[in-house]
């Protein structure tokens, strides 16, 4: 495939700090190769901004291969851009047309305050994990992997749920800014495995309580999260989270 060059207009949310007022600023990205990634396109724009002595556009990135989950932003109204099953860093410019106007906004949620420009504070997710998204094991050498049998179906469901990279796109996509897809993925992958069972009842209650406390919205079963999740986590996990929650509240004696 031969590469082409694109001339684009970017409308980017610029906000100097958490308590500053933000606004959209217009930038022109000229001569962008269709082989560039979206983040490389932003890098090119930033180099030009720096050369002119202007403040570059702040955005988060680390692995640039869809693993770390830091690079989330809303591109033309879609978290991680218009494609399915990929993160922003995996989006390439060949999916855009010459002359396109691209709006770039940060994830919007009360629980994800803007730090600067497109960078939001997603530490709320860490707090939810700290509340219960772990198992207790002895330190030392790793236990033998096959000593406890796990049935294949559960192993696969747990693996699918564990694919969640904590990027926050589900929150960004949800009209209620709900974190249910993230929490359901974390609760599911532990509830499906024997190693997760000792803390099964307390975990789901603590994680739901923490999610509520941090100001995420409630789940209306809209399904926008599933559609935008780069790891294609399914809302069947949310049904499982609900089951786990009722089981813990109504059938066990464990109180959060």
């Amino acid at each position: 495939m031969s590469s082409k060059k694109l001339n684009l207009t970017l409308k980017v949310w610029r906000q100097a700090g958490p308590n500053e007022k933000g606004e959209f600023k217009t930038y022109y990205a000229n001569n962008i190769s269709t082989e560039a990634s979206f983040l490389e396109m932003l890098d090119i724009v930033n180099e030009e901004l720096e050369a002119r002595g202007e403040d570059p556009i702040a955005y988060e990135h680390d692995c640039r291969e869809g693993i770390c989950g830091t690079c989330g932003m809303v591109i033309n109204g879609r978290p991680h851009g218009p494609l399915q099953g990929i993160t922003t860093c995996q989006l390439h410019m060949r999916h855009f047309k010459d002359g396109d106007v691209i709006y770039i906004e940060p994830f919007r949620a009360k629980a994800f305050p803007v730090i600067k420009d497109l960078v939001v504070d997603r530490s709320a997710f860490d707090k939810i994990i700290q509340a219960g998204g772990f198992i207790s094991v002895n330190t030392g050498s790793a236990p033998e992997a096959n000593s406890i049998p796990v049935k294949k179906e559960n192993a696969e469901l747990a693996m699918d749920a564990a694919a969640c990279i904590g990027c926050g796109a589900c929150v960004a996509a949800c009209p209620n800014a709900s974190a249910m897809l993230f929490v359901s993925a974390k609760v599911s992958h532990l509830a499906l495995l024997p190693q997760g069972l000792p803390e099964r009842e307390i975990r789901v209650q603590k994680m739901v309580a923490k999610m509520d406390e941090l100001g995420f919205g409630n789940c209306s079963n809209v399904g926008a999260c599933e559609a935008e999740c780069p790891k294609e986590i399914k809302i069947t996990n949310i049904a499982r989270l609900n089951r786990e929650f009722y089981r813990a509240r109504f059938l066990s004696n464990v109180e959060e």
């Binding site: 949620a109 996509a173 249910m180 789940c219 079963n221 509240r249």
Partner: protein, 224 residues
């Protein structure tokens, strides 16, 4: 008891209350539709049915059911408004570009609006029928319950309003029925496609069923 009530203060518990009251209201609508269908059997059949509910010994059971029904509506409405308000607060700064992903339905994102129209309908509905049947001055002229219904449905404005409200009931249940199963934790490869399909059938049968009465009495009813 404390643990029980506390459950409904978790987000998942709030949704559980929503789903349970929602199912209860759907059950009520099914029975209500069955009762209304006596209208098609004529004046005597309908009046006897209303009489049977209100003036036989059944009345004591009916009163109890009415109280449960009012509570069902009250909890559903209160919980719905509470959820909607919290969901609004969870995103204080809105997106500038409002493109929505192509997979989520309009109805699921706008439950509060279909709900508000159903609510307004409910108030007017109670005023026109429940109040008129019980305390209406028209009764002094010898009009029966059946006549009140016919007369009300022959008002074009009310007829249109009723039908429009039923469209919104359809939208509410189109999402609501299958959503309530998901809330209860029932999402299963084998059954969910049927639940989604059946929910649409229920939504259609209920809304079209109720809308058929004003349409019939406005357009096709030729007197006795």
């Amino acid at each position: 008891m404390g643990w029980f009530l506390k459950t409904f203060n978790y987000s998942v518990g709030k949704k559980l209350l929503m789903a349970l009251t929602g199912f209860f209201l759907i059950l009520f609508l099914c029975i209500h539709l069955f009762g209304n269908s006596f209208l098609y059997l004529g004046r005597d059949a309908f009046n006897n049915y209303v009489h049977f509910l209100n003036e036989t010994d059944l009345v004591y059971i009916i009163r109890v059911i009415e109280i449960i029904l009012v509570l069902g509506f009250a909890f559903h409405i209160w919980d719905g408004i509470r959820l909607w308000w919290q969901n609004r607060k969870a995103r204080p700064v809105k997106y500038f570009v409002k493109t929505v992903d192509p997979k989520s339905t309009w109805t699921s994102r706008n439950m509060i609006y279909s709900a508000l129209i159903i609510f307004v309908f409910l108030i007017i509905h109670l005023r026109n029928f429940w109040y008129e049947f019980k305390y209406g001055s028209i009764k002094e002229t010898g009009a029966t319950d059946y006549d009140i219904v016919v007369k009300t449905f022959q008002d074009p404005v009310y007829m249109i309003f009723y039908v429009v409200a039923m469209v919104f009931l359809f939208l509410h249940l189109h999402h609501g029925f299958q959503s309530a199963f998901q809330t209860l934790g029932i999402n299963h490869k084998k059954y969910t496609p049927f639940i989604v399909w059946f929910g649409r059938v229920i939504a259609f049968v209920l809304s079209a069923g109720f809308a058929s009465f004003p349409i019939y009495f406005f357009f096709f009813y030729g007197g006795n």
